[in-house]
């Protein structure tokens, strides 16, 4: 930190400023916005996964009492296409309209919109819309979609292949030629449904030529940009507000059809319109995550030294490309596969594929959990193959602490790292050494007990604009902040980030408070309103908010502070170098009686009658911060599980993690992010998975079938931390939003496989449901008989 060597508020477990309104029911979520004269939109969605739309008869719906408007795709040219923000080389993009015109390409594709005076009138009218479909052959599986003769999702393209994305380094042929041992594993990273607890919702009103659109989003500025461009409105006429947002996890990192439709309908009807997703509708119409099939091959020496890694991946992207979809299995996945390990040769090729399924995009971790899972599973497979302790195989291949900044074989540069201390602490927390005794005790109970670990490096920040551009990301990776000190000394921070549970109001207050020498209580952080924030905010995703947006706040606060110092020096007739700003006071070092209140300085800035020569009046600063690099947090997660020998049910009996996210602004929030992330990762390992039948019908179509973990399913979590600062930014912060999800899935799966390894079981695909484990146990038993 530049000015304050020992921060007062950074690093403290400050109670969240968000909480008072959320625990009293006063927070306003998008569906809570009730406007006079509001009409309600409902969408008619295709029941078929792939079908030509022959005819849509809306006559009966239009006659239904209370119906305001009915709209089909062919009547809707005004909204334009849905955006894709990332283009990878050779990508076959496709047309993606808010309402399908020619074909429905997945079950849930919108084919008509109804607006009515009430929600139920809209729904009743929607039921009266008759659509003639010609069902077409369906392809659900990514690998099958690449086979000759597969149904083509977008007929204007010659195949379902979206792209082939290679990342290579070193001599992979030599690595496998020199290998003393090779291991191959096919790994399925199953499709997940994000399940933010708040379903999506959009509310809009159009008054005096200005569209105000409330939406449950992680990226209000991108929504503003696309709505303005697509609806032909000036960007200055489109105000997008992300009020309270009830979780996102990537599922709200989109510009969705419903945002364009509600905006368009509100504008053309001249009245407020609202759409609120129902949960089962969301299962179809909100993006899914993951869905990769990877063939992973590792070449190594018998002592555990990795020589090379070869991976072939098929990424099922669903029926259309969503905003960030092309970047997830490529940029965010392929580059980070090496994790904390020195890998001399690397050869990854990812093929993206269209299928007749709900589009796939970012889900917590977005590419990095998949990468870490592949790497950490193959590390355990390697350890098993050579009879080495999994912890020691990892340790042997760690990038040493003196090697940073480290250029990975995949072509990125890690900022900082010290991987062994985190590993050692986690091993101690987990009583790794004492495990075999517990395995034996479980065996006596007829159960199988296992311990599994994962050591990960993740990529945060989503950051340098030039690097983003080189990678095909169609927008800069900066973030904005504006700090306004009012005449009375009260402080407002406007941030381009758009939190939905991450507590930015609290953390940004802590950052600004330390720079300005005031209490966080005197600082108000405002976000999620494109008419309040600096011109552009990129938003909250990819664990980028602190390392980019938080730094923007810090830099803006430093700018304000510098002006405070200049004014104070002028008023106190001292050298700026001698001015101290702390505890709401500004004084001359060593002469505390020679002081002004912070509010005296801000008042002076606006009275403007006694300022240093040439100084502008006012006290505010705006910063667009574009970092020089990504950041690379890391850690070790260890899960211990016990499997019921009769049913295959898994219980996580202990969970330990030691994570390093650089400097922590608010350790309470850091731990909360980890807890939630870890449980989401456990969900993938054990419980969650979207299931389609061959006709493209989503069988796991509601919370009745799709298992979102409940409190009874998951353990309490033991956390510890190491702190390795980064030089990438002045606060030394890295990011923690997704680390839990990245670390936990492979730790849990490795633990389960470890438990079953005495039976000769090497791998089982997720989710590790009781029945799968029971079958594996039984098959292993039969094999032995």
């Amino acid at each position: 930190m530049t000015a304050t060597t020992s921060p007062t508020y950074i690093g403290t477990r400050l109670a969240r400023k968000e909480d008072p309104r959320l625990i009293t029911g006063e927070g306003t979520f998008t569906d809570d916005v009730m406007l006079q004269g509001m009409a309600y939109m409902t969408l008619v969605r295709s029941p078929h996964a792939h079908a030509r739309i022959l005819r849509i008869d809306t006559a009966a719906a239009k006659k239904e009492p209370g119906v305001v408007a009915v709209l089909t795709g062919t009547e809707l040219e005004a909204t334009g296409m849905l955006p894709v923000f990332i283009t990878v080389p050779g990508m076959n993009g496709s047309k993606h309209m808010p309402i399908a015109t020619d074909k429905a390409r997945y079950a849930g594709d919108a084919v008509a919109a109804v607006v009515a005076e009430s929600r139920d009138a809209a729904k009743r009218a929607a039921d009266l819309i008759a659509v003639d479909y010609e069902p077409l052959p369906v392809v659900v599986d990514g690998t099958k979609a690449l086979e000759p003769g597969a149904p083509i999702v977008h007929e204007e393209l010659s195949s379902n292949l979206v792209f082939t994305y290679p990342v290579k380094g070193g001599d992979i042929d030599k690595a496998f030629k020199d290998a003393e041992v090779t291991v191959t594993q096919r790994i399925v990273n199953q499709r997940l449904i994000p399940n933010a607890m708040e379903p999506r919702a959009v509310t809009a009103k159009f008054e005096a030529g200005e569209l105000t659109l409330w939406t449950s989003t992680q990226i209000p500025h991108f929504v503003q940009l696309i709505v303005a461009l697509n609806l032909g409105l000036g960007q200055n006429r489109v105000r997008v507000i992300a009020p309270e947002v009830g979780g996102g996890f990537g599922s709200k990192l989109q510009v969705y059809a419903e945002e364009l439709l509600v905006g368009h309908l509100s504008k053309t009807l001249g009245r407020p319109v609202k759409w609120t997703e129902e949960r089962r509708e969301g299962y179809l119409a909100t993006i899914h995550g993951r869905d990769l099939v990877e063939n992973v091959e590792i070449a190594a020496k018998k002592d555990g030294t990795i020589l090379g890694l070869r991976i072939r991946t098929v990424a099922n992207l669903g029926a259309y490309l969503q905003a960030f979809a092309p970047g997830i299995p490529t940029i965010l996945h392929a580059f980070i596969i090496p994790g904390p390990y020195k890998i001399p040769a690397f050869d990854v090729e990812v093929r993206g594929v269209y299928t007749n399924t709900t589009p796939v995009d970012a889900y917590r971790g977005a590419g990095r959990p998949e990468a870490t899972f592949a790497m950490e599973r193959i590390m355990d497979r390697l350890a098993d193959e050579i009879g080495m302790d999994p912890a020691e195989v990892r340790r042997k291949n760690f990038i040493p602490p003196d090697a940073f900044p480290f250029n990975t074989i995949s072509g990125i540069t890690y900022d900082s790292g010290d991987y062994e201390p985190a590993l050692d602490r986690a091993l101690a927390m987990a009583d790794y050494k004492g495990f075999e005794k517990r395995r034996a005790e479980a065996k006596a109970r007829g159960n199988y007990r296992g311990i599994g670990l994962s050591t990960y490096v993740e990529i945060c920040g989503l950051a340098p604009s030039k690097a983003n551009s080189a990678l095909g990301v169609g927008w800069g990776g900066y973030e904005s902040a504006r700090i306004r000190v009012h005449a009375t000394g009260s402080v407002q921070v406007f941030t381009g980030t758009s939190p939905h549970g991450q507590g930015h109001e609290t953390s940004w207050s802590q950052i600004a408070a330390d720079a300005l020498g005031v209490s966080p209580n005197d600082i108000e952080v405002r976000h999620g309103d494109t008419f309040e924030s600096p011109g552009m905010g990129v938003g909250t995703f990819g664990s980028r908010s602190l390392a980019v947006g938080g730094i923007a706040v810090h830099k803006a606060a430093e700018k304000v502070r510098e002006k405070v110092v200049q004014i104070a020096a002028h008023l106190l007739e001292a050298s700026p170098a001698d001015i101290v700003v702390e505890n709401g006071k500004v004084f001359v070092r060593g002469v505390p009686e020679k002081a002004k209140n912070f509010g005296d300085i801000s008042m002076a800035a606006y009275l403007a009658n006694n300022l240093p020569d040439g100084m502008e009046p006012g006290l505010e600063a705006t910063v667009y911060y574009d970092p020089p690099n990504f950041t690379f947090p890391f850690g070790t997660h260890i899960a211990e599980v016990e499997i019921d020998g009769e049913t295959g049910s898994v219980r996580i009996v202990k969970y330990s993690a030691c994570d390093d996210c650089g400097r922590q602004i608010n350790p309470m929030i850091v731990d909360g992010q980890l807890h939630g992330g870890i449980v989401q990762g456990i969900g993938q390992a054990l419980y969650e998975g979207a299931v389609y039948d061959d006709n493209g019908q989503l069988l796991s179509g509601s919370m009745m079938e799709y298992h979102v973990p409940s409190a009874e399913d998951v353990p309490s979590i033991d956390l510890d931390h190491t702190v390795t600062l980064t030089n990438t930014n002045p606060l030394g912060v890295k990011g923690i939003g997704e680390a839990g999800t990245i670390g936990s899935t492979p730790a849990v799966v490795n633990a389960v496989i470890d438990a079953l390894s005495p039976l000769g079981i090497k791998h089982i695909d997720m989710p590790l449901t009781p029945e799968k484990l029971w079958r594996a146990i039984r098959a292993a038993g039969e094999g032995r008989r």
């Binding site: 909480d19 959320l22 979520f29 708040e198 089962r280 549970g501 807890h675 449980v679 409190a711």
Partner: protein, 172 residues
């Protein structure tokens, strides 16, 4: 349309009489008729618990109850937890223990917890986890929610020391 029914019940201490359609769900009545939007709708299959309110003291999923069924009942929503400006111990505990992140599930969780704690003043962590199995949270991983409910139980025990403990729910 069938006839509307005149329905009278008390919400957070205020008695309301409204003519409503029998198809109106209690959660719709609270949110849209009364404007009490602190109670949320997170699913349509009675799984998530975001809509939980107390009906005659019992934690109830307001998405799975008709408003007409609440005729004559005492309903408490998140807006009614604080009394005379003083937060309920469960509210203070959720904030203290960082038991919420996005806050969407929080009202329902707190309501369930209060009903539970009034009947089981000294629960184990396992009992707490069982009690909130019908309230899904995607942000917190439940760790701090369990801590918050335990913290609240201690405070509630002190403030209601005279109240007898009712048997905890059996667990099969």
């Amino acid at each position: 349309m069938p006839d509307a029914h005149a329905v009278t019940f008390t919400v957070n201490g205020t008695t309301y009489t409204r003519e409503i359609q029998p198809t109106l769900l209690l959660v719709e009545y609270l949110r849209e008729t009364l404007g009490l939007t602190g109670t949320h709708v997170g699913c349509d299959t009675s799984q998530c618990g975001a809509c939980t309110v107390r009906v005659d003291g019992l934690a109830t999923k307001a998405c799975t109850m008709l408003a007409v069924q609440a005729d004559g009942a005492q309903v408490v929503t998140v807006e009614g937890l604080a009394k005379n400006g003083a937060l309920h111990p469960i509210q203070r505990a959720f904030a203290k223990e960082h038991g919420l992140q996005c806050g969407f599930c929080t009202p329902g969780l707190m309501i369930t917890a209060v009903d539970f704690l009034e009947r089981n003043a000294s629960p184990s962590d396992a009992e707490i986890r069982h009690a909130i199995e019908g309230n899904l949270c995607r942000c917190t991983g439940y760790h701090n929610i369990v801590n918050a409910i335990r913290t609240a139980s201690a405070e509630m025990r002190q403030s209601t020391a005279a109240q007898p403990k009712v048997a905890a729910e059996v667990k099969g």
